[in-house]
């Protein structure tokens, strides 16, 4: 029991290994107009936070996410396109930052896998249904259920 508790404590302390300076200054980003804000939010929700890996850049409170949000806004103001901004981050942090990975040879399985599985499932269902067809349905004897 004590061992179990110790183990649990160890597991609970694991996230502490991922260090992020949490004392972020919380000045919100200032947008020039609504269009800029919409574009920024769309972009930030498509980018993944590199520190807390299950959150988008828009959702995360980690310091690095704050920093990257600023970077994204600065790049937008430099007149870069969404694609250029994403490339900018991919060059530095890798494909990981994209929630939607690029379609290329290494990601075909990822993109097409679900469709292939769905088709395979449909195939199985069709073959089962076809096999059953020849067996006539039991005649409706009018019995009430």
């Amino acid at each position: 029991m004590r061992l179990l508790l110790a183990l649990l404590l160890c597991i609970a302390s694991l996230p502490a290994f991922a260090q992020a300076n949490q004392q972020a200054d919380a000045t919100p980003l200032q947008f020039r107009d609504a269009g800029e804000e919409t574009r920024f939010h769309a972009l930030a929700s498509e980018l993944r936070c590199v520190m807390c890996q299950n959150q988008s850049l828009a959702d995360s409170n980690a310091l690095i996410a704050l920093q990257l949000r600023r970077e994204v806004l600065d790049l937008m103001r430099e007149g870069r396109s969404d694609g250029e901004i994403k490339d900018h981050l991919v060059q530095r942090y890798g494909e990981f930052v994209l929630y939607q990975p690029k379609v290329e040879a290494s990601t075909w399985l990822l993109w097409l896998g679900p469709a292939v599985l769905l088709l395979a499932g449909a195939g199985v269902v069709t073959s089962i249904v076809r096999k059953r067809k020849p067996q006539a349905l039991p005649a409706d004897d009018g019995q009430e259920w």
Partner: protein, 181 residues
Amino acid sequence: MKTSRWLPLLVFVALAMLLAAGVWMSRKPDRDVLPSPLIGKPAPAFALPVLHEPTRTVTLADLKGQPFLLNVWGSWCVECRVEHPVLTKFAESKRLRVIGYNWKDEPADALRWLEQFGNPFWLVLADVEGRSAIDWGIYGAPETFLVDRHGMIQWKHVGPLTDAIIANELLPALQAIEGSR
């Protein structure tokens, strides 16, 4: 008839193998670490002030010519404290220049930290704003980069350095770049 009888078992075995493969692939303790796309590429250009001499600016060009180790740290970073004795021991071996990259830190706090624990660094660069850190793909201290004499990033480690990592990863990488000159 016979094959259809075995089909569910086959599907189950296939799924179990897929699951086992997933578990096997995530066996490494550093599975959360992002592989850096910068390895084998030129280190990003930067011009950063020196922590101890804020008026002096150092660029990547100033550091070329000999390989160096760039260690990202901050006085706010708890794991950097854990790493500190390991890094100090390595720096004292004088194998190569160990350069500190003080990331998003108050210079006064950083100086106090070095005074308290000792300064293992040949030079400490201060990136208070953290703009250059984005070019390096830095996302959490401590991180350590090995840059060769041409300014190419050859190796990177995310998380605190340990004696084992230095012996098994850093030193072989260093030997490889020294052998290829």
